[in-house]
Symmetry: C2
Subunit: 151 residues, 2 copies
């Protein structure tokens, strides 16, 4: 199997290529959702019924550390994970969160303008606040079509 970006990054870090790690990465690559650790665990059980939830947590932490995965907190008490959008598998996007049903929708509108502004802001923040920026998130909170009810 051809070595992928994330595998190279792992090997540079001295990490081992294991079945659980391959499986979890596969699941992340194939989903277009925003799975929690448990969502991923349940998926993984279908392929490897002996995998442990602990391993899922640890593997996700590892992926986050090597920059292959991004972790999001949308405010519903559990972390959610997505492949980092720099590599081609996913384009840069942000999130719409329904405050009622907690559904999450990706959007990519105005990314050009947004990236411009973010670049400018990042520069300003780097100098004015002496912060080295690594990444940013934009979340829109509101109500999805299904949850907009005439009150």
């Amino acid at each position: 199997m051809k070595a992928h970006r994330w595998q190279n990054r792992m090997q540079c870090g001295g990490f081992r290529r294991t079945h659980p790690r391959e499986l979890i990465m596969k699941i992340l690559k194939e989903t277009d959702k925003h799975p929690s650790a448990e969502d991923i665990y349940i998926q993984a059980l279908n392929v490897n019924p002996s995998i442990g939830l602990t391993t899922v947590y640890r593997t996700l932490d590892l992926f986050v550390q090597i920059g292959a995965v991004q972790r999001f907190d949308f405010g519903d008490g559990k972390a959610r994970y997505e492949l980092t959008d720099n590599p081609p598998e996913k384009e840069h996007h942000h999130h719409l969160i329904c405050m009622k049903c907690k559904s999450i929708v990706d959007y990519t509108d105005f990314m050009k303008e947004e990236l411009e502004l973010m670049k400018k802001t990042e520069d300003a923040l780097s100098t004015q606040h002496q912060f080295k920026i690594v990444h940013h998130t934009v979340h829109f909170y509101g109500y999805c079509r299904k949850c907009i009810s005439p009150e």
Copy 2:
């Protein structure tokens, strides 16, 4: 005592004006930090040693529901609370989060441009995704001056 915005909002909702609620609102008004429920609880204990942590959680939930307070998840496992920035007590701002020491800094740079872009984006999202947007957050993650170490 003069009734404030949040009190009116509470009364419209049929909620009671109680000592714990007044106290917690006072604490929120006086801080310029990003306190967690427990932070607020500890503050509150100085004034009212019999207040319960449970009440703090419930009160914060209530304030969030009536729109007086905004809840943030910066990814360190505990929610943080701030007065909503529409009223004059706080101006519209976003956050810089240090990924190492977890410190949080407010920033207000480029708010004019940001609000313009966000307005445009909100409009687009409202129509294209049929989402009714209530608010948005922008988080920048990186490393603060203290935590930038030559590695």
